[in-house]
């Protein structure tokens, strides 16, 4: 930012910025490593490497020189999940630019979640939905991969589609959930709950105390 600040050691980048007087409007969300709003790139003194982090999860270092990228412009494809064809590599069809991957591994290096981003892009290219879904699962969609990619791929959107395809088409359905919905429609639970709803306070307390824990 071109200005020098003295900050107590141990503060996260986010808290350090606030200590220095900056109020976040962009670049802060959950403040706990789950939302990806605080993607940050920085350099350390006398080090040529461009590093990356989530500002809420990384502590300040001497001579740190940083900028935040609250989002990376990236177009998300719009699709109807019901009409996607996984037999004909829906990932490649929706995001043909994954074929431009030059395996430079920049995406993997920049990922603050330490995901193997390039590997899931390659899995997507092969049509291996399960692998792409698994490798991308912990993605917080901060967009740093898309920002660094020389092939202009929006990796985190590809991973999103891979996971949805995996959840919907690849993993077996939970039959007990299906059965529970059918059972509910029979109305038995409705009757049972109607009985509970009219109980007096003492009566329902007794029932609660006596309930079996399995």
């Amino acid at each position: 930012m071109g200005k020098e600040y003295r900050i107590p050691s141990g503060l996260t980048l986010m808290k350090a910025m606030e200590y220095a007087g900056y109020r976040y409007t962009r670049g802060a969300g959950c403040r706990a490593g789950f939302c990806g709003a605080c993607a940050t790139i920085y350099r350390l003194k006398d080090d040529y490497k461009l590093k990356s982090a989530l500002a809420c999860q990384t502590t300040v270092d001497d001579g740190m020189y940083l900028v935040q990228l609250p989002f990376t412009p990236a177009n998300k494809k719009k699709y109807d999940m019901e009409n996607l064809n996984i037999a004909h590599n829906a990932l490649l069809k929706e995001y043909p630019e994954i074929a431009r991957c030059i395996s430079c591994n920049s995406c993997t290096k920049v990922c603050p979640q330490e995901l193997k981003v390039m590997d899931y892009v390659q899995a997507s290219l092969r049509g291996d939905i399960e692998k792409a879904a698994d490798l991308s699962f912990d993605c917080v969609q901060c967009g740093l991969c898309a920002f660094r990619c020389p092939a202009e791929i929006t990796q985190y959107h590809v991973g999103q589609l891979a996971r949805r395809l995996n959840g919907k088409f690849v993993t077996p359905k939970a039959l007990h959930t299906e059965e529970a919905v059918v059972k509910l429609n029979s109305g038995v639970s409705k009757q049972e709950i109607s009985k509970l709803k009219v109980l007096k306070l003492d009566e329902i307390k007794e029932l609660y105390k006596k309930r079996s824990i399995e």
Binding site: A28, G29, G33, T58, K76, Q113, G167
Partner: protein
Amino acid sequence: MKLIKGYPESMRESIEKVEKTREKRLKEKYNQMSLEERDDVLNKFHPDYKPEVKRTLSAGPSKGEIVPSEVADLIESYPLISEKDIDISNIDYDVDLLIIGGGGAGTMAGIWAAYEGIDPDDILMTTKLRHGDSNSIMAQGGIQAADKANDAPEIHYLDVIGGGHFANDPELVEALVSDGPAIIKWFEGKGVMFDKQKDGTMITIHGGGTSRKRMHSAKDYTGMELLRVIRDEFINLSIPAVEFSPAIELLMDDKGQVAGAVLFNIETHQYYVVRAKATVMATGGFGRLHIQGFPTTNHYGATADGLAMAYRCGARLRDMDSVQYHPTGAAFPEQIVGLLITEKVRGLGAQPLDKNGEMFVHPLEPRDVESAAFIKECYGTGGGVETPTGMQGVWLDSPMIDMIKGEGVTERELSAMYRMFKRFDINMVEDPILVFPTLHYQNGGVVIDANGATEIKGLFAGGEVTGGVHGKNRLMGNSLLDYSVFGKRAGISAARYAKKASIGKLTLSHVTKYSEQLRKAGAPESRKSPMILPEYRGKNVLSRAIDIF
């Protein structure tokens, strides 16, 4: 300060004691408290049971209700805008449905309103930060639903009511538990990657206060996985969302209906007028008000704006006297104090221990009871572990998880937690982690019916901004179900209402009237709300800051 694998020497000594008792504890069974024992520890040690930290509301539809002082300050405050500042005749957005809030409930409301036949172009979502920035995305442990053979909605019902101290609205609880299985099926059909066995059976575990294993999860990123999917679905439906533009006041019409809102662009400081036939309030809770000075697990924007705005329109609040402190917030290291350690850690087998490595409470009591027991241990019986900054905490013996469930389970099923601690050189597979209660959830909120309608025409609500579903205490995994069920129901109800509604002349007179009530009650004029964002800037900076715009 010298750290050995993340911990200072003083804490290492206590960890050695924890290691020594581990074999013994693996075999022991610890009993849950009776209702009487629960009441006793709550009354003596739960922060929410101290009368001096609360006061009665002095104006508005819930006048006389007891709420935390921080909430009273927010509710008894004057609007940021007045009728003469704003030209509400100049409409920027004219829509059928306005959704305020871009978290779980708001996103579900948008999707289901579109399914109900409202043209996406006639819907507008507005969010304070980005679409998805919310407590919903931070939820870790899971979502409850009674969909296993040994379970049923009526059993879930009893758990919810008991956990909520029998103060819940039965109609809302019925809606919550009855919609559960279909919601899980819907999520599965949309491609949510739930934790499953190879044959598709959902892996479910206990949460505090549950009588069946009905907690469905997606590792410890459950909230993120659900929200990623519904946000993707919302975008696929082409529903417009305006980001970085929180609502700062609801608009009404001359027929007494809620009829839209005034939005504020937090970067350009421009205001926008939205006219809407129906409005869904989905702004979440109050964690960032830091009730009683507690740290919080909550999102940056969780400043209870919706409560303040809905109240001025005449919406009643309920159960606002009850605040949820999550028993396991991080207590060490300092950088992550207050951040959530999911209840799933205990669900998978980690035990809470004192400084001598002894268990002092069952790991899965309801949250308020567990929290009170932790506070008792730290400040009542002196069994807490002190950190270098003087904070007290109790151990959560996370290495037990791999010992009970098998090697690699922690890294696989708690990857977010594992990663969070690893960033500070602590390996939770090898060493226990230190925890202390942290402000987590707004149990009460705006009164709604089972269809997500408030008592004010045109205003619907879902999610944490509402009250009644959880009574005086929410069980783990019921908030994701809550926003799913009531976000959906509010979206559908609002869509049906919008199809028939006609809007009269827009007005902000309700705000003027409420301000008059406040003046009569003697509320200081300096108080303004909504807060929009909490203030974390350094005192030195603020002392020399000037506002020249």
